[in-house]
Amino acid sequence: MASPDEITRADNDPAGPAALAPPRWSPLRIIRRYGLAVVTLSFLAAFAGMVLAIIIANIFSRFFHFATLVELFHKPLVVAAMKLSAVTSLTTLGLVVLFCIPAGYALSRYRFFGHAVIDTIIDMPIVMPPLAIGVSLLVLFASTPGRWLGERMDAVGLDRNAAAGIVLCQFLLSAPFAIRAAKAAFEGVDRRLEDLALTLGCTRWQAFWKVALPMARGGVLAGCVMAWARAVGLYGPLMVFVGCVRGKSEVLPNTIYLEVSTGGLEVALAATMVMIAMAGAALVLIHAVAGSKRWWGI
């Protein structure tokens, strides 16, 4: 029997001497501690790997030749499609910035009659099949008010069977992403900070520009990138609503489809690489403009 002098601190612990011993590593303990991180990071790595695999498969495909890519820039019809893609998607991006940031702000800040209904209507183009939107636009412009609108557009030089129609279609299908993202971003900004800006001498507009918008910048920017990506990659509804006339209403996704249909896989692949490069450049540019250091993992 141990004397009182031999009683250690560990013996006094209600859990006994084992309580102070270092924990033993067991598979269950390892799973509990690192399981969540391992599982979630694995899914993340798997998805990023899939995207990278697609890009690498394109680059190393036997159908891809660098010479074809260079040649692509000497084909007037493909260059026209590239230009039309760039012009229409950037115009759509401009419209998205102009309309969707205020719309997202209004949805996040104001409660009004019909708020929930409008909130739901805005989501419709996200859940509707893009082809259905194309068909709906076609039907709309065939109706009496639509024909009147088409005539007005023609009168000011906006051809709905060319760039103007493409922008309209792209805007309708991509704007909901930007509105949704802007709404979520503004909801994340504490409204009291805007009120505080008012007491510091700001007008409501200044509070928006100096406080709400800079604080929601990340989410708003992400929404705009999503909207632009959706616009530049749109194909089906454009074929239905605008049609695809080479040199007039052909955008890059149409070029890829037409080339694949006519057996020009090399040209289609080269056009795909151009689209991947455009998307990559746009993402880098936008993150650089936003000054997001975290993007680089710093």
Binding site: L193, A197, L198, T199, L200, G201, K210, R217
Partner: protein, 247 residues
């Protein structure tokens, strides 16, 4: 000088009922009350973030009841400091001047004495998110004072701080108020904070219960609500009225 007469306001189920206050020029006034008693609401009415349904608010003799917050020229410091996280300390401090169209270099020149007075010159390039609680309070105070306000409104400015920082910031607030000879309304629910006041007002259930020097409120509480806040013994409380506005 701040003169508040019969302010009424309904916010949800809560009501401010004919709240009246008179804060003298250069006076440090502490407004005490329990959580949910309406003290922050009254402060928001004074700085213009809420419009009262009736009553009158005058600052230095000018009726400001219908004016926008920016037209009242009051310094307001909320409970959580409300520093803008996307700006560094400098940009936070000069925010009110820049919002009023003052050029950047002029704004820096105008705020420099204030920055030195508060001892925060070493923090100017720091990110607001990296400051300690006490430093945040000083930066928020500098920001509220940068446009040389007619009066300063402090909404529980030290409630988020630990005891030593609380004492330090309270002393700093009093020193700044005396140096600038400002009228201050300081909202709190702590007797320790009320000790720095020239006069104390107690608000309960949206009604001002009693106003006077702290000593007077402790010795002669007018209502049970005042006695409870002043931690007056039960024996003395029994002889008091429950207080106007209480259910």
């Amino acid at each position: 000088m701040i003169d508040i007469r019969d302010i009424c306001l309904t916010a949800g189920k809560f009501q401010l009922q004919k709240a009246s206050l008179h804060v003298l020029p250069g006076e440090y006034f502490v407004l005490m009350g329990r959580t949910g008693s309406g003290k922050s609401l009254l402060l928001q009415c004074i700085c213009g973030l809420r419009r009262p349904s009736s009553g009158r608010i005058a600052i230095d003799g000018r009726d400001v009841t219908g004016l926008e917050p920016r037209e009242r020229n009051l310094g307001y410091m909320p409970q959580d400091t409300g520093l803008f996280p996307h700006m560094n300390v400098w940009r936070n401090i000069t925010f009110s001047l820049r919002a009023r169209g003052v050029h950047r270099s002029e704004a820096v020149r105008l705020t420099m004495p204030l920055v030195e007075m508060l001892g925060i010159a070493g923090l100017l390039d720091r990110d607001c998110r990296d400051l300690s609680g006490g430093e945040k309070q000083k930066v928020a105070l500098a920001r509220a004072l940068a446009c040389r306000p007619n009066a300063l409104l402090l909404d529980e400015p030290v409630s988020a701080l630990d005891e030593p920082a609380r004492v330090e910031v309270c002393a700093e607030l009093r020193r700044v108020q005396q140096d600038l000879n400002l009228s201050v309304i300081h909202v709190c629910h702590s007797l320790a904070e009320a000790a720095i006041a020239d006069r104390v007002g107690v608000i309960d259930y949206g009604q001002v219960q009693q106003i006077g020097p702290l000593r007077q409120l402790r010795e002669n509480p007018a209502t049970k609500a005042v006695a409870r806040l002043m931690r007056v013994g039960n024996e003395q409380r029994r002889n008091l009225e429950p207080g106007t506005g209480s259910p």
